[in-house]
């Protein structure tokens, strides 16, 4: 199961926002610091934290909390 607290912590750290800013509606559109540079680092950090490899086609597209949850859960189940 995906640990949502860990996910929020990673996102908050990488996007340099308070953890309370990461709610289920958080996305590139709602978080001003979430730019394409930070997004790359976020993907790298998520891979490291959850020990998964996010496929190329997903890496660029998971630009919201919900999408990240979805992709990570799939990857974790497949392990």
């Amino acid at each position: 199961m995906l640990d949502e607290n860990t996910l929020k912590q990673v996102m908050a750290t990488l996007l340099t926002v308070d953890i309370t800013a990461i709610d289920s509606e958080a996305s590139m559109d709602t978080i001003a610091t979430w730019d394409s540079l930070r997004h790359m680092n976020l993907v790298l950090a998520l891979e490291e934290e959850f020990k998964v490899s996010i496929p190329d086609e997903d890496a660029g597209n998971i630009t919201s909390y919900k999408l990240i949850m979805l992709v990570l859960e799939e990857l974790l189940q497949a392990k």
Binding site: T13, L14, L37, M40, N41, V43, A45, E49, A59
Partner: protein, 593 residues
């Protein structure tokens, strides 16, 4: 453990995750900075993450680093904007594959003319950027590396040719600018591994080819090259002996039992490490011993063990005794007249390392790893501490100079009276008169000496020659040597003779030999020579300058009566028959005419 320590631990751990590093860096940067520094990043790839790792390595050296990101592929514009932001340090990372779209893949199909034009373009752009940045304090220029692999197993292909050529171009353009330090990025890739260094996903999407692993190693090298962003400058490597220079304990295993054979494990590791230490010594690093042992045992190994690489002459100071190591290190720093913070201390014992870390935290303490195969890696890190910042040619072979001084200090403590100490130096002074072979050195010394210079009258080579040839003048020069070595021609006396008067026109000495009686030892010879010329009186003048206060009373000390004092000078005169300079029985004077 305080949270600061926990964060520092995260930064020191090799396997901390990106998230952990970011958190730790953010936490540590909340503290009041001890030092701070701004660095601009200029690259033709996306290198924003390098900023995080530069900040990390800055924090590990107690420095808060602020990063300013340049634009994509705009070295000249970046320099302008960094300059206007008052930034004095910059990392420049040109990227080969973005010189043209997928440059590496295009190479085979490019015409030589186009390639030549591209090389010229790279040269011009970077030369202009370097020129604009010539007042930066430091520029770290990453050389080009390839992104792809050569299909040819020999490694030689069109890309490797162009890579070498363009790197040569960068190096040539950078050579004119002493503030540029080139970092070999191919070696960074080799060190972390090609697979770990790059992430193709983000390269093709966002021109961000590098991983955190690559940036971490690159930032670590920038930190090394800047000696911890200017926080340390190590000069002395202090070595334990047992299980550091050789395997085993000399006091127990004896000469035949210690491990130092180049052909057997583990002697081969210690033997190899001794070569590394000897190489450091040749690069100007001072080697010292600090070992709990009987001095005679350690000396015997150094003198007689057939496999010893380090020679007694390569060790500046030995603290081989039963005192605790912090005490010995303090004494050692004092003898060498260096700060404890310029010392790296290597010992195999956790007890000794902890004692030094606790009592002398400014000393960089490193422990010989328990797993001996790790020892070469640890010594490589030690070498980087000393050498990564570059070494100047004149700092090479400092050992002899320092050893002479340290030996003098050691001896000084052993002798109760100063005279007994001076006698132990076995000083020899050779006094020459009108030595034409030394004209250049005599003139040089008269031009350079300020402190021990009685009138600050300077003499060109031509003037020296003229004085030597004149029947009414003489130029005495003195060369000093002692049991530790030769100090060379270090003193000059210019004499003029007229109307039965021998006038000391000037007397000057190099500061290297002052305070040992040399300055008074030569005068009985010079005054007898004057008497033989028919002079009856000896006269001298002291002219004060901004720097020669230390010799204001020299002629008084020499035994010349003061006859007149004006604002500009002090005048002395004595009958030669009554002039008796102080005796210096510890100096063996030879007059060579």
């Amino acid at each position: 453990m305080s949270s600061n320590n926990a964060d520092t631990l995260v930064l020191n751990k090799a396997d901390s995750t990106l998230t952990q590093v970011m958190q730790a860096v953010a936490n540590l940067e909340k503290a009041e900075p001890r030092r701070s520094l701004s660095i601009g990043l200029s690259s033709s790839a996306t290198t924003e993450l390098l900023g995080l790792y530069l900040r990390k390595h800055g924090l590990l050296s107690g420095t808060h680093i602020t990063i300013h990101l340049g634009n994509y592929d705009d070295p000249i514009g970046d320099v302008d904007s960094f300059l206007s932001a008052g930034i004095e340090h910059m990392v420049m990372l040109p990227f080969l594959d973005t010189l043209m779209p997928s440059f590496e893949a295009q190479l085979e199909s490019l015409t030589p003319e186009l390639l030549a034009a591209k090389e010229l373009d790279v040269r011009n752009r970077y030369r202009m950027a370097f020129e604009k940045a010539k007042f930066f304090k430091s520029i770290f220029l990453g050389s080009f590396h390839r992104f792809g692999h050569a299909a040819d197993v020999s490694g030689a292909d069109a890309v490797s040719d162009v890579l070498n050529r363009f790197n040569q171009a960068l190096r040539e353009e950078a050579a004119a600018f002493p503030n540029i330090c080139i970092i070999d990025t191919e070696d960074v890739v080799r060190t972390v591994g090609h697979t770990a260094a790059f992430d193709a996903r983000f390269y093709f999407r966002s021109k961000a080819p590098y991983t955190g692993i690559y940036f971490n190693e690159l930032a670590r090298r920038v930190a090394s090259a800047t000696r911890g962003f200017g926080t340390h400058f190590y000069k002395v490597l202090v070595l334990d002996c047992d299980n550091t220079l050789w395997g085993g304990v000399i006091g127990e295993d004896l000469m035949g039992g210690i491990k130092l054979s180049p052909y057997d494990y583990p002697g081969n590791i210690f033997w190899r490490m001794q070569h590394e230490f000897a190489a450091l010594e040749r690069n100007g690093i001072l080697l010292c011993l600090c070992s709990k042992n009987n001095l005679a045992d350690v000396d015997e190994v150094f003198q007689k063990h057939p496999e010893m690489i380090l020679k007694p002459s390569q060790i500046v100071v030995k603290k081989v005794n039963w005192n605790d190591k912090p005490t010995n290190l303090r004494a050692l720093a004092q003898e060498l007249n260096v700060g404890l913070d310029s010392i790296v201390f290597l010992d195999d014992s956790s007890f000794e390392c902890d004692a030094v870390r606790q009592q002398l935290p400014m000393v960089k303490t490193i422990q010989v790893p328990a797993t001996l195969s790790e020892y070469p890696r640890v010594v490589k890190e030690i070498k980087e501490l000393f050498l990564a910042g570059g070494i100047s040619a004149d700092s090479r072979c400092k050992t002899e100079q320092y050893r002479q001084r340290a030996d003098s200090v050691t001896l000084q403590t052993q002798f109760e009276s100063q005279n007994a100490y001076l006698a132990s130096l076995e000083m020899k002074v050779e006094l020459s008169c009108n030595e034409t072979g030394s004209v250049a050195r005599i003139s040089e010394l008269s031009m350079k000496s300020n402190q021990f210079n009685l009138t600050t009258r300077r003499f060109s080579e031509a003037e020296v020659i003229k004085l030597m040839q004149s029947p009414d003048a003489a130029v005495y020069s003195l060369s000093v040597s002692d049991k530790f070595g030769k100090a060379g021609l270090t003193g000059v006396v210019f004499m003029r003779y007229f109307d039965g008067v021998a006038q000391i026109d000037n007397f000057l000495m190099s500061c290297r030999v002052i305070g040992r009686g040399v300055e008074t030892a030569i005068w009985s010879e010079i005054s007898s020579n004057a008497a033989r010329r028919g002079c009856a009186a000896l006269r001298a003048t002291y002219i004060p300058s901004a720097k020669n206060a230390q010799v204001a009373d020299f002629y008084e000390r020499l035994g010349l009566p003061l006859t007149d004092t004006t604002v500009d000078a002090k005048y002395y005169s004595a009958a030669l028959t009554s002039f008796t300079p102080p005796v210096t029985p510890w100096i063996e004077l030879t007059y060579v005419g």
